[in-house]
């Protein structure tokens, strides 16, 4: 009845990765805007948030995707 570990839920794992990636890109920008409003750092909070969010988020997405592709979404065999 049970599927081989790691072979199921590929779509769900992709969904989890995408939602995490979106949050990783958007939240730093929102934090930057909040810092601008709170401490009057405008526009540097927005700039730093955008660099961190888009740059870091995109680089992270590529890194995680390459890791997943390397293992084909499955754990390596025990041998």
């Amino acid at each position: 009845m049970s599927r081989p570990p790691g072979n199921s839920g590929g779509d769900a794992k992709s969904l989890a990765l995408i939602s995490t990636a979106v949050a990783q890109m958007v939240v730093p920008i929102l934090v930057g805007v909040w810092l601008d409003d709170r401490y009057g750092w405008s526009p540097w909070g927005l700039v730093a948030g955008t660099v961190l969010g888009f740059g870091g988020g995109f680089a992270s997405l590529v890194w995680v995707s390459r890791k997943q592709n390397r293992h084909g979404g499955t754990p390596p065999s025990d041998t």
Partner: protein, 289 residues
Amino acid sequence: MQTLTPLFADAVAHVLDEYWVSNVVTKYQILVVAAAAIVLLLMIPLARRVSTGEPVRGPFWNLLEAILMYVRDEVVRPNIHSGHDHHTFHSDTEEHSHEAERAYRDPQHYLADKYVPLMWTVFLFILTCNLLGMIPFLGSPTASISVTLVLAGVMFVVITGSALMRLGPVGYVKSFIPVLKADNLPMQVFLTVFIVPLIAVIEFAGSILRAGILAIRLFANLFAGHVALGVIFAFALGANGVLNAGGGVAAVVLGTALSMLELFVAFLQAFVFTLLSSIFLGMQLNPEH
């Protein structure tokens, strides 16, 4: 009609928390405790029946067992795997222990099975909370961001604590730092100086954001569903604020249809929370995958 009119008139008010016992105990506080009690009333008798070693009997207990087996076999076990690490149990000191033997005989399921009771509890608790909202005049505690934040906080503590124990503090920190290789020196310097720190920061933030994703997803689905139901029931009121026949029929038909959808959403969101928790836990425990 006088007592129901405010319910129809404000689509959001009935989803928000309110005091039930003087100004001390709120509706959701009572319902959360009730949901926990219901889970205990379900799980303890089932565990007693299963512990005898005989198959459970009766349609309800079989249904419950089927649901729990599905969560274990299709949600937790495929997403939390032990990878290579079962070889570590082959050391001389642990070789003859019961745990080491179990890990050796069933390496792929050994790690996942440690988290199955937690995932069962979380699944049943969220499902019960969601279903309480289908009972008129009650509500879903999971439509409150406070409740979902606490649930996500529990998962964050479990995920982080498990990763710290499995990988160690150094391994845990290293799991956020990527190893990037380039063909030439300038690119290697660029990756090491700029990209690696960016990814490390964003990955660490991501481990916290994942808990937020769990909380917001569950809260938003339940909250929006109940507000939509409230809006549809508001159709029953005409422009003058009086109940009318046409709007009443539309409210009943659409309200019934949406209630069926909400029933499905109650199961779906409990499943999604458990599935995402398992995936995030599996990713954190096996960072190399």
